[in-house]
Amino acid sequence: MSEAARIHLRNAQGRHHRRAAAFRWSALVTGGALALIGLSKRSKSGVALATAGGLLSYAGARVGARERELIARSSILLNCTPDQAYEFWSNFDNLPLFMRHLESVTLMSESRSRWTAIGPLGKRISWDAEIAFNRQGDVIAWRSLPDSEIYVDGIVKFRKAPVERGTIITVVVVYQPPAGSLGAALAKLLGKDPNFMMRQDLRRLKALIEAGEIPTVEGQSHGPRSSVAAAARILNPDDPIRGEGNLADIAEARRRAS
């Protein structure tokens, strides 16, 4: 079995083992009901109440999750040489530019660095890491120091793509969250799918290296937004926007079709 397939399987088993799944679903349903009650009030306080209720039950549900090893793996094609990609990555200062959960990586010495991530509710999580292996233009591996609260080991490989297509980089990061609130915070930070988070990070890296900037629409103008859509986004940030396609609209459309 290839390394990629093995890791996919392991993550899948990890997901499967969340025995709290049933509990979480029920909590989500409760949260949803709370949200509906709050939203039916059609006031700002109602919405706030509803979202807070929903978030609380969601967070509560997460406590049931088992501590385990979390693996994030992804790869991406960059339109640059392996050396250019290596140079960018080996300067750890650059990592927070595209790894959104990282606040800073500070070099303590040539091989040691202090990593700080921002978790839920702005909670800072820090750990120290050292370079485990480093070969110019080829591979960088790092691991957290033995006395760290959190173990985060990572490796990035740089491989020249065929002809002049650039460089394929492959990244694997293994997280070992401790028990307790710190572990829960880390698990929350990584979201439902660590691979997804890694894909997002590498997309930002690609845009930064190729286009010189990360595309964004944050802060642009728009007309009046719906509080229902805003609440839905807070409840589940990973869910694509669904506009106003609700039951009433479907009924209306059906009426028009007939």
Binding site: L77, N79, R165, G166, F196, R199, Q200, R203, K206, A207, E210, A211, G212, E213, I214, P215, T216, V217, E218, G219, Q220, S221, H222, G223, P224, R225, S226, A229, P240, I241, R242, G243, E244, G245, D249, I250, E252, A253, R254, A257
Partner: protein
Amino acid sequence: MKAVCWMGTEKMSVENVPDPTILNPRDAIVRITSTCICGSDLHLYDGYMPTMEQGDIMGHEFMGEVVEIGAGVDRNKLKVGDRVVVPFTIACGRCFFCQQQLWSCCDNSNPNYWIAEKVMGYSPSGLFGYTHMLGGYAGGQAQYARVPFADVGPLKIPAGIPDEKVVFLSDIFPTGYMGAENCNIQPGDTVAIWGCGPVGQFAIKSAFMLGAERVIAIDRFEYRLQRAQEAGAEIINYEQVDDVVQLLKDMTGNIGPDACMDAVGMEAHYHGPIWAIDRTKQVLRMQPDRPNVLRQCIMACRKGGTISVPGVYGGFVDKMPLGQYMNKAITMKTGQTHMMRYMKPLLDRIERGEIDPSFVVSHRVPIDKAPEMYKIFRDKQDHCNKVVLDPWANGAAAA
């Protein structure tokens, strides 16, 4: 500034919103002088494209004057004061796809890549004012717009050419032209084009430019068929014939058109049980598309022929004649328009007087009338063919 906002299905409204600002180094701000309603905007108006959100600013066919540029914009390519047409696709200019001239497949311009990735496997480029799945960028039916990667897309327009002759370089002229180019037209070819809206009209003219012998245009609105006929096409009003596919065979000596173009897309109109099935699924949001034109294209196309699809589709469809497509050795070419390939050469054609794209315009109105024009355009009232909005009519900017 004033902006046309999507407030829900069939709910458009002109709102006062903050002026756009530079958000990224390669951004520019354009003061818009002309902006249009596109047929593909009607898919949003009718609520069939997923991931629109209340308050989104509409519009992807606009031109104007550059009033501000970010620090990262290449000054040799764009500066304040330039008069530009802005293409509806947003491209970084530096990724694998941009370098292959596949501009509408740019890998770095969609901040919501992951949403499109979920639906399509990979994301095409970001678009102005066309769902959050395709970037969530504020559109150009407004007085100002923020244009990302401004040193790649916008095409400079010399003074002296009126807006109406060049504004359609923002989408429909290149889209019709690429639709025709994708037909792989050879000398003596017959091209059948479904849909005689503005894209279809440009496609008819482009097909003749590219050497087509015959163009057969299919629609149901007489005023559109009349425009097609004036452009030199033979016409079929499909509501007045029993079987379009059989008629196309009869018109071509039973060999079929060498190329078929679907310039209709997801909201086609047709009859019979298949219509009832598709319509019901669309209303229940089980299937975004009514893909009957594509089915007819596959059935009508000659063996070894080409199908070109400039019409917009949203997702998975049922009842496609895939076996027919395979057994007849058909090639299908698709895609949002690779705008930057076509804008300059087509501007040259306009400057040489080979074509005056302003022939498509039927309505010129102030931006405040946009909401009612959406309805008129959708319902094909008042012979509505193409609507151009003036964002500054009545003189004053909104506060």
